[in-house]
Structures are given as structure tokens and as C-alpha cells.
């Protein structure tokens, strides 16, 4: 089959590799119809994530048609499914509590060592996201092996186009959980750092959960425009002093809840950011955390901090004093995708949530390297790239 393989920093290629096979009783194989490049794929592209190996197949936002099932799979041939990016067993203690991204059994036993050393306990498996998360081949490919196919994939009714449901795989549930973690109360003002897909879905979700005002912060005008369309007020941090603006806009109180949807590759020329970059490049610290610092600084006393943004390692200059003195609450984590998928599918079918606005480019899988470069170089215009294995290459 053809698949997008990682070869190193800024080097991804569509290679011909051998097909996936059923290995375990609960497995299924799907033929991918649509797959997207995620903002977090850019962390891999930029070489920020350890334990990557040449030839690893990327992609964790994908959907397709069931073409093969193991004896314990509950899927049927020909069904269309969206696949959650978190690989969870459905039978352990954590899955029982719907904490799917904390699944005990999604990671192969040997791969659990790294995460156990780094984090204290291993997390669930993830598709296409390094060997620390299981080394599973990802969805930017013609075919994918799906473990635990009896509990993960969500069957999509006929007649609903891919574009409407593809983002159930990751970014829509992630944006929704980000808003849920902000524990929004009626009348709240919620500030969202980062108007990428997760930030934009968090904006939509916050309003659905009863926020009175949402303030969106970014520096890409196109992305701020999208946030505005959903009713958010905007701050362009290149033109405005963010903390002061937030204080003035909230009557000197600060936002009731803050959401950091930026993460470990924060943009912008701030002093702490530059220091973080130097440290990241010299391995003194691994993550650039400007957005979470600013969010904690701005958050009102007793407020809530939600952090869907991806962080991987260690940081310093974390404003622990502000966090403690103001009595803030922090909720975070990889998304429990399986928990949110069914309700969010209904919200889509009922027309309460629209996801199609996000897609700026649709390309054949063969053009995936071009898609990565576009997404990486022009985050203003390129909001989401969807890849279609079935799509013919456009004539140059």
C-alpha cells in the first residue's frame, strides 16, 4: 500500500510499504477514505517528539470502510467508521471510568517502559505518534490495522459525507473536552489561546456549554476571523498586550476560565519563549510554554485552567506561585475520544456543530508531503488539510 512515512525532521515521504494484517482477535482493517494532518503532526514534523523511527507511518485523524475483521471484532464488512486516535481496550479500570486515554492495555508491554520512566505510569496507545505511544502505524495510508475494533471505531450512518464526521477522531472531542475541563458556569467569560482547530472547536463548545463571552487569542488574522464567526471577541497578540487587554475586557477581573490550545510550539517573540527555545535546543528543558504561563497570569482568582495543548516533557518558570496564591484549578489530559464520540455525532447530525468550515485544502494522499509543508509554512491560510487516498493527482 501507499503511506506517508516519517524520515526525519521536515522529511516525510509517501512510500510503498507492506499492507497491514489482522494480528489479534479484536482487530479490524479499514480502507481509509479521508485522513487529516493534525497540528500535533507538526510536532513530529519539526522533530520535537522523541522515539520516532525512520519509516513510521503518521496520521491519527482518519476514517474509512471496514474491509477485514478479526473473530472478536463487532464491526461488519463495508461499514463506514471514524477511528478515535486513542487506542483503548474498553475492559480495564480506566476504560470502565471512561478515562480512555489512560487505558492500561492500549500500549504494548515493552513500549510502556518509556512512558513509565518519563511519566510514572504509561498511557493509552495512539495511532501514528512515535514508539512511546505504541509504534502503531497511522492513518495517512491506504489501509490501517485497528486494534480493539469492538470498542473504538464509531459507525457512521449512510449518506453523511466524510467531511462532516472526520474530526470526531480527535480535534472535535479535544475541543469539546477542553471546554468541559474549563467547568463553564452561566455568565462566564472564557479566554482561548490558539485558534487552531482545537481552539476553534473549544470556542464553539464553550458557547454551547453556556459561556456568555469567549475571547480568542491568536496572531493569524484568518484564524481570528473564523473565531469571530462563532461569536468570539478576538485579541491579536502581535498588535495587543494580551494580559492588559484581557483585564480591561473583563472589568479588571480576568477571564473566569482559560484554555491553552497552543502547546509546546508556541509562536511569538517573548523573552521566556526565546529562553525556552534555547533550552529546548540544548535539552535543558523540552517544552515552550508561553501560552500556559500567560493564561495562568490572566485567569481570575479561583478560576479554572484547561490545557488541551500537548506538552511532552519538563518545564521551568512555571508560575506556580500565581497558580497557588490565586487558587486555580487545572484540568488537562489527552482526550477520552471514545467517551465523547457518540454524543458529538448526534450534535453534528442535529446541526448543532459544524466542522466543515475548517477544511481549507483537500489533497490526494500522494501529495501529503506538500500538505505538511503548506500547513507548516502558512498557518494563516492553511487551517486544515484533508488527504484522500482515492483522489487522483491533480495535473500540474
Amino acid at each position: 500500500m501507499r503511506a506517508l512515512a516519517w524520515h526525519g525532521k521536515h522529511d516525510v515521504r509517501v512510500d510503498t510499504v507492506d499492507d497491514p494484517e489482522i494480528l489479534n482477535p479484536r482487530d479490524a482493517i479499514i480502507k481509509v477514505t479521508s485522513t487529516a494532518i493534525c497540528g500535533s503532526d507538526l510536532h513530529l514534523y519539526d522533530g520535537y517528539i522523541p522515539t520516532m523511527m525512520k519509516g513510521d507511518i503518521l496520521g491519527h485523524e482518519f476514517m474509512g470502510e471496514v474491509v477485514e475483521v478479526g473473530p472478536k471484532s463487532t464491526l461488519k464488512m463495508g461499514q463506514r467508521v471514524v477511528v478515535p486516535f486513542t487506542i483503548a481496550c474498553g475492559s480495564c479500570y480506566h476504560c470502565g471510568k471512561h478515562q480512555y486515554s489512560a487505558c492500561d492495555n492500549g500500549l504494548p508491554a515493552d513500549n510502556q517502559d518509556i512512558a513509565q520512566e518519563l511519566y510514572g505510569q504509561p498511557m493509552s496507545g495512539l495511532f501514528g505518534y512515535s514508539h512511546m505511544t505504541g509504534g502503531y502505524s497511522g492513518g495517512q495510508a491506504e489501509y490501517v490495522r485497528i486494534p480493539f475494533s469492538d470498542v473504538g471505531p464509531l459507525v457512521i450512518p449512510e449518506g453523511i459525507e466524510d467531511e462532516k464526521v472526520l474530526f470526531l477522531s480527535d480535534i472535535l472531542p479535544t475541543g469539546w473536552m477542553a471546554a468541559e475541563n474549563a467547568q463553564i458556569e452561566p455568565g462566564d467569560t472564557v479566554a482561548v489561546w490558539g485558534c487552531g482547530p482545537v481552539g476553534l472547536f473549544a470556542v464553539q463548545s464553550a458557547f454551547l456549554m453556556g459561556a456568555e463571552r469567549v475571547i480568542a487569542i491568536d496572531h493569524f488574522p484568518r484564524r481570528l476571523e473564523l473565531a469571530k464567526k462563532f461569536g468570539a471577541e478576538t485579541i491579536n497578540f502581535e498588535e495587543t498586550r494580551t494580559y492588559e487587554a484581557l483585564m480591561e475586557m473583563t472589568g479588571g477581573i480576568g477571564p473566569d476560565a482559560v484554555i491553552d490550545a497552543v502547546g509546546l510550539e508556541a509562536h511569538g517573540f517573548f523573552v521566556d519563549n526565546v529562553i525556552d527555545q534555547i533550552k529546548a535546543s540544548t535539552f535543558l528543558g523540552t517544552d515552550r510554554i508561553h501560552s500556559i504561563r500567560q493564561a495562568i497570569h490572566a485567569c481570575r482568582k479561583g478560576g479554572r485552567v484547561s490545557m488541551p495543548a500537548v506538552y511532552g516533557g519538563f518545564v521551568d518558570k512555571f508560575p506556580l506561585g500565581a497558580f497557588m496564591e490565586k487558587g486555580l484549578t487545572l484540568k488537562t489530559g489527552q482526550t477520552h475520544v471514545q467517551h465523547y464520540m457518540p454524543a458529538l455525532l448526534n450534535a453534528i447530525l442535529e446541526g448543532k456543530i459544524d466542522t466543515t468550515f475548517l477544511i481549507s485544502h483537500t489533497l490526494p494522499l500522494e501529495d501529503a508531503p506538500k500538505g505538511y509543508k503548506m500547513f507548516h509554512d502558512n498557518q494563516n491560510e492553511v487551517t486544515k488539510v484533508v488527504l484522500k487516498p482515492g483522489l487522483a493527482l491533480a495535473a500540474e
Partner: protein, 201 residues
């Protein structure tokens, strides 16, 4: 035997987590049948919680032929009689080591203790305990293994290079046991049979 291994310690933590090697030696002298005459014993203790009933886990483990399913380095286990089994285990450099193991004590649904018989390539003894977890979370399974590393410290170093060192191996094996019992299968990140056989996760 029969008592838990953590009795002579000052605090409540399991003996295998002690920083004091003298305390470990003193405790293992009295609590576990020491294999061989060696002074290079290594104590490994690993615990995992499995979301299944105690009796079910005990029964699976007690049928020693099952253990090769999730113990990665075990090539073969031949059950000789109700108490004895012969183990063939992968070692560094493509070799194997062998021993015959006998149950020294057991309590149905609760624990199994064993020791290798004379002539073992790697003398070892240990026990596996099954206890109800609090709050209906299933069963706490603890493996405690005492062994003489082959060829002393150098043997351990070589073993570590090959990731066959028992502390790592015991943890991985228990994880695979948990996966098998909870999910009915052992997770693999491989894409197909070829990659799985090459050990690529």
C-alpha cells in the same frame, strides 16, 4: 515460607523496594529458599492490578503450560507432574538456559511459591501472590523472584543489554498477563505478521 516477604522491615513498603541491601539479604535468608550457595542474589518484586477475579487469575497461572503465552523469554514449559515443571528460557547470544522448578508451597486462590531444583542453569525461587484489590478493582498480583544471575555481575550486564534482565522482564510479563486476562489478547503495535515477528513495535 507462607508469610509475606515484607515482615522484617521498619516501614510498610515491600522489601523489594528497600534501599538497604543488608536488610534484603537478612530477610531473604529466612523467608525464601535460597537457590545455590551464591552471594549475588537479586530480589525482584513487581505488582500489577488486574480487573478480574482472584480465582480466575490463580487458575490460569497454576496451569504452568499457560505461562509461555505471556512470558516473552520463555521458549517452552513442560509440565512434569502436578508440582514440577521444566523451563526452557531464552538467554543472550541465542542460547537457552533450563531448570526444573517445583512448587514448595501454595494456597488455592492465594499464592504459589516455587524453587528451582539442583542443577538449574540459573538457580531461582519466588512466589506469586493474588490478593483482592480494594474498591472492587479486581486482583493485586505480586511476583517476587530471587535469582542468581548467570556469571555474576557481568552476566547481569549482558542480560541487561539484551533487555532480558529479570526486573524489566518481570514487569513486562506481568503487563502482558494483565492484557491477556483483561482484554483476551496481548497488545502489539506491529502492522503485520512480518513486523511482529521481527519484534517491531
Amino acid at each position: 515460607m507462607g508469610e509475606t516477604l515484607d515482615t522484617p522491615q521498619r516501614d510498610d513498603a515491600p522489601l523489594a523496594t528497600s534501599k538497604d541491601s543488608a536488610a534484603v539479604d537478612a530477610a531473604t535468608d529466612t523467608l525464601i529458599d535460597k537457590p545455590g550457595q551464591g552471594d549475588a542474589d537479586v530480589l525482584v518484586g513487581r505488582t500489577v492490578t488486574i480487573n478480574r477475579p482472584r480465582e480466575e487469575l490463580f487458575a490460569y497461572w497454576r496451569d504452568f503450560a499457560n505461562l509461555a503465552t505471556f512470558m516473552e523469554n520463555v521458549e517452552r514449559i513442560d509440565v512434569l507432574d502436578d508440582r514440577r515443571s521444566h523451563w526452557v528460557v531464552k538467554a543472550p547470544g541465542g542460547r537457552t538456559v533450563e531448570w526444573t522448578s517445583a512448587i514448595t508451597e501454595e494456597r488455592d486462590g492465594s499464592f504459589i511459591a516455587w524453587a528451582s531444583e539442583d542443577g538449574a542453569d540459573v538457580p531461582n525461587s519466588g512466589r506469586i501472590d493474588f490478593r483482592d484489590a480494594q474498591g472492587g478493582r479486581g486482583t493485586i498480583v505480586t511476583a517476587t523472584i530471587l535469582y542468581d544471575p548467570p556469571a555474576g555481575a557481568i552476566g547481569k550486564l549482558i542480560a541487561k543489554m539484551f533487555q532480558r534482565e529479570p526486573a524489566i522482564q518481570a514487569r513486562r510479563d506481568l503487563r502482558r498477563f494483565k492484557q491477556l486476562m483483561e482484554t483476551g489478547e496481548i497488545a502489539t503495535g506491529a502492522r503485520n505478521k512480518r513486523l511482529q515477528d521481527e519484534g517491531k513495535n
